[in-house]
Structures are given as C-alpha cells and as structure tokens.
C-alpha cells in the first residue's frame, strides 16, 4: 500500500550529468567534399582550392561527408543550396539546375514507417536552424522507386544550413 509520505515529491541531490564533449568541427568543400587544412586556405577565400567549384563549409566531424561523398546542402525553406559532384551523379542532376529547387524535387521520404515528408522536412528545418545533433531519414531519389538511401542530417555553416549526407 502506498503511503502518503512515499507519494510526495521530494528534491534529492543527484550526481551532475557527464557533460558530452562537443564534436570537433571540420571544413569540407560543398562540391567535391575535400577537407582542406584551415592553414592552407588563402586569406579571405572560401573557394575550394582542389576543384574550384565549391565553397568551404564547416560541420561536425562525425557527419561531414567523405571526399567524393554524395550530399546536399539545404536552407530552412527546404531549398537546395548545394549538390556535391557524387550527388549530381546519384540523382541525375546538376548543381546549377538543382539550386533553389525544393528538396522533394530531388529526394522523397522512403521510410516504411514514415507516412509523409514531415520527418525529412522537420529534420532539415531543425538542422538549418543551427541546432546541434544528427538525425537520420530514409529517402529515395524523387524519380526512382526501389532505392532506399539513409540520409544523415545535421547543421553546417557558416550561415546555418542543413547538411544531408547520403550514405
């Protein structure tokens, strides 16, 4: 039998939570994914010295794409801002054509348990706001069925945007 005393809320001293070390940040090219050494970048330039077709962005090391990886950069209105070279091939598009288009023109949610695009959209908006952390979504190319890709979604910068890495 539950006593009145046992049911009363009470304050207790607890051990402080172990603070999670923030993931280190790395630089990468928005087109080829090359990770430049910060000291090697020319002063005042954000253009990739390797391919010359991308700008240097920054994100958490545990979500940053590998060199030659397929990824997109999206803003909070879900518009495409950058498409990597590998993503161009994967999604059969080109960056100049894809920029400013809605993300669902290129990718659709494909998770069996997801009923709509809310999860993908919410994850992108959440990341583009600049919140930390990584979310995942299952997507497929908008014009292709039968392909499922896992997308890691996290924030990137310098101006807050969502980095969507296709694994």
């Amino acid at each position: 039998m539950r006593t009145a005393r046992a049911g009363r809320p009470a304050l207790r001293l607890v051990a402080p939570l172990e603070s999670e070390a923030p993931a280190p940040l790395v630089l990468f090219c928005s087109h080829c994914g090359t990770r430049p050494v910060p000291s090697a970048l020319p002063t005042g330039s954000r253009v990739c010295g390797s391919c010359g077709l991308g700008l240097i962005l920054e994100s958490r090391a545990d979500v940053a794409p590998d060199v030659g990886g397929a990824f997109l950069v999206l803003d909070r209105s879900l518009a495409v801002c950058a498409v990597s070279r590998a993503a161009e091939e994967l999604l059969d598009t080109s960056e100049p054509d894809a920029v400013n288009r809605h993300v669902t023109d290129l990718l659709m949610p494909a998770g069996a348990e997801e009923t709509g695009g809310e999860s993908l959209s919410a994850s992108v908006v959440w990341a583009a706001r600049g919140d930390g952390g990584i979310r995942t979504a299952v997507v497929r190319p908008a014009n292709t069925f039968g392909i499922r890709l896992t997308a890691r979604i996290a924030s990137c910068g310098p101006s807050p945007a969502a980095l969507l890495v296709l694994d």
Binding site: H31, L53, L55, D75, C81, A82, E95, V99, S159
Partner: protein, 297 residues
Amino acid sequence: MRYLKTSEAAALLNVSPNTLRAWERRFGFPKPQRSPGKHRLFTHGEVAALRDALQEGLSISSAISRAREGLAADANSLVGALASYESERADTAIEAALALRSVERSVEEVLLPTLDEISRRYGVESAAWAFAAHWATDWLRRAIRLTPPPIRLVSIVIGDASRDELDRDAPYIRALELFCVRAGIKVLSLSARGVAGIGDAATVHRTNLVVVAGGHLDDDTVARWAYAIRLAVGAMPLAIYRRGAERPRVRPTGTTVLPSGAGDAQRTLLELLESDQVAAHPSAEYRSPPRFARGNR
C-alpha cells in the same frame, strides 16, 4: 563602365584565372565580353556582386544565383518606374544597370525585357506601354547619337517596317541599330514606306547590306522598297529581322533571317558583313543580277 581583365577579376574574387574560366563554362557567370583582341573583359559590377555573394554563400551556384538576383533587380525597378510613368526614376534605373553592365547587355538584359514585361502586363494599347515605348525609343536614340563615329568601312540600310514607336518590334529595331552603330557600322535607318528617293539614299550611303526589320508593313510594300534600292545600287545581301516567322507569304529564299534577339542579330550581321561575299562587293561596283527581289515577294 569599368572592365576587368581575367587576372584582375580573378584577383578580386581571390581565385585563379583558371577557376574563373571554369565558372564561366559551368555556370555562365560572370559572363565576359570580348575585347577586340578576343580577350575576356568582365564588368566590375558583376564581379563585385559575385564577390559579395560568395562571402555568405553555401555553394558557387547559390552565390551566383544571388548575384544574378541582385542584378535582375534593375529590371524590376525599371518596370516599376515605367509602369508608374516616372521617367526620372526610369533614367536612374537604367543608369544603375549601366553601372554593372555594358550598354549592349543593359539593353538586352534590362531594357528590352522590361518592355516585354510591360507589354505583357498592360498590353500594347495601354498608356503604360505608350509611355514605356516612348521613353525607351527616346533613350535608344540618345544612345545612338552619343556613339562615336563608325570605324568600319561597311554600311547597312535598315528598312523599318514597324508601325510606329508603339509597335512591339520598334524597340528591338532601335536596339539593333544601336548595337550596329556601336560595332562601328554606318547605319541608315529609314521607314520602308518611303520608296521615293530611297535609291539615292542607298547610293550615297554606299550600302553593303540591306535589313528589312519589323512585321507591320505587308510584303508588297517592303518588296517595292527593296526593289527601289536594287535598281539604284544593284543586288546585295538582304537580311530580315523580326518580320514574323509565322507569316505565310514570306519566302526568305536567298535572304538571311536574323535571330530575334538584338545582340544575336547584330552578331549575325557582323558575320555577314565580314564574309568575303559582302566585303568583295561594295555597292558601287556590285551589279550582279537581282537576287533578293525573287525571295522577298
């Protein structure tokens, strides 16, 4: 208008000249003009706009998109000024466009699209179109007058077959005239209605090529005008500009149909004028059998 060489533009953007050329190939921006020696010349305004957009951009494509949007604002402000009948504000808008572009590109990318937009929104029977067409014609004529004297030894006669300055084709014809004059060609632009004395005019002008521009006048009127020139100076190359591709009676055999864009039309004309056929047959000596009358009936 300030122009930058490739190395100067690359230095301003803090990239290599090869990168700048790669951007031109991939994105078509910044879009250089060519010097007489075929070297690239970038407008300072475009390069500066791109440099600013790159500061906060997430990719080269998105930065270029932003820079283009900024440049397109000139067209929007000109539409607004002309639609509200404010000629001074329209002058300011076109001056702003000229600060970022050459005269040719200001006309092609700002002035003519603005007129297209106004005619689309309000129709060519509207007061807004009347105001805009009058302002644009006046501006283009002023620009023609301010152009230095011709440097090439070639001249053309433009037979203006448009209705009047309210004709939708009229600004394009003035723009072609401006581009030709700025390319150093001697241009005589007359209405194709004026047949009497046109032969004398063409002779005095030492015409190398005839352009019939505009689609308002019927083919018979235009053919009479062209025939009068042929009688005076002999047959010569004929080009047709904005006569209307859908016209069932036009049979442009033996003539060159110019592209509808003023810049493309000017480049085609320059190629025609630089071809051996035209260069070898200035009007005074060129008296081979008639050619264009057959194709223009």
